[in-house]
């Protein structure tokens, strides 16, 4: 399946786009997604933390992704 992934902050700059495409086999988890993402963008693995949001909520590594999910990269936050 083809995942459209939103990238914010430093991840947007590293990826060079607001949205990137990551190809994954059906039934992949958030953890599988991160492995594929890091092979596509090795510099992302240098971040102190990188959370994945699915459908606008923080996702756990074991969560299974569906083609229609809204996926986003959440580097260390700094609001306020």
């Amino acid at each position: 399946m083809k995942c459209m992934v939103k990238a914010f902050g430093i991840t947007r700059e590293i990826a060079g786009a607001k949205e990137v495409v990551v190809e994954l086999p059906e039934g992949s988890t958030v953890s599988d997604f991160k492995t594929e993402l890091f092979s596509q963008f090795p510099r992302l693995s240098a971040l102190t933390s990188l959370f994945i949001a699915v459908n606008q909520a923080y996702a756990e590594d074991h969560q299974v992704l569906k083609p229609e999910d809204e996926i986003a990269l959440i580097p260390p936050v700094a609001g306020g």
Binding site: K6, G9, I10, L47, P76, A78, G79
Partner: protein, 143 residues
Amino acid sequence: MIKITAKPIDIQKVIDTASSLGAGAVNVFIGTVRNTAHGKKVLWLEYEAYEAMAVAEIRKIIDQASNRWPLLGWAISHRIGTLKPGEVSVAIAVSAPHRRDSFEACQFIIDTLKEKAPIWKKEIFEDGEEWVSAQPNMAKVYN
């Protein structure tokens, strides 16, 4: 009211929205842009947010606060875009019957927002720029 806005924050509106006739206290936190970081002069900050999720996360924080303290009203406005030193980046107001609850709830909300809300900022210096908390090389310095 939870607002993510590119326009200057209307602090009075945040206070008015949080106020309640049953309240003996309205506690307000105003976050502002500091003019220095790491001993260097900050020219401006660039804020960005994953807006839909930021609103959802802030709503969860408000729900948690409402379960812990007897809040009568609340409002949060967070700025995005380009902000110069001295400008208001966030305003939070909560009202409660008594001041202690309002202080504690307001502190919990800003502390948790800084931890959880998907909002980012980049400091622009005279000689470069840096994503706050997220710069890989700076992270090594601090760890």
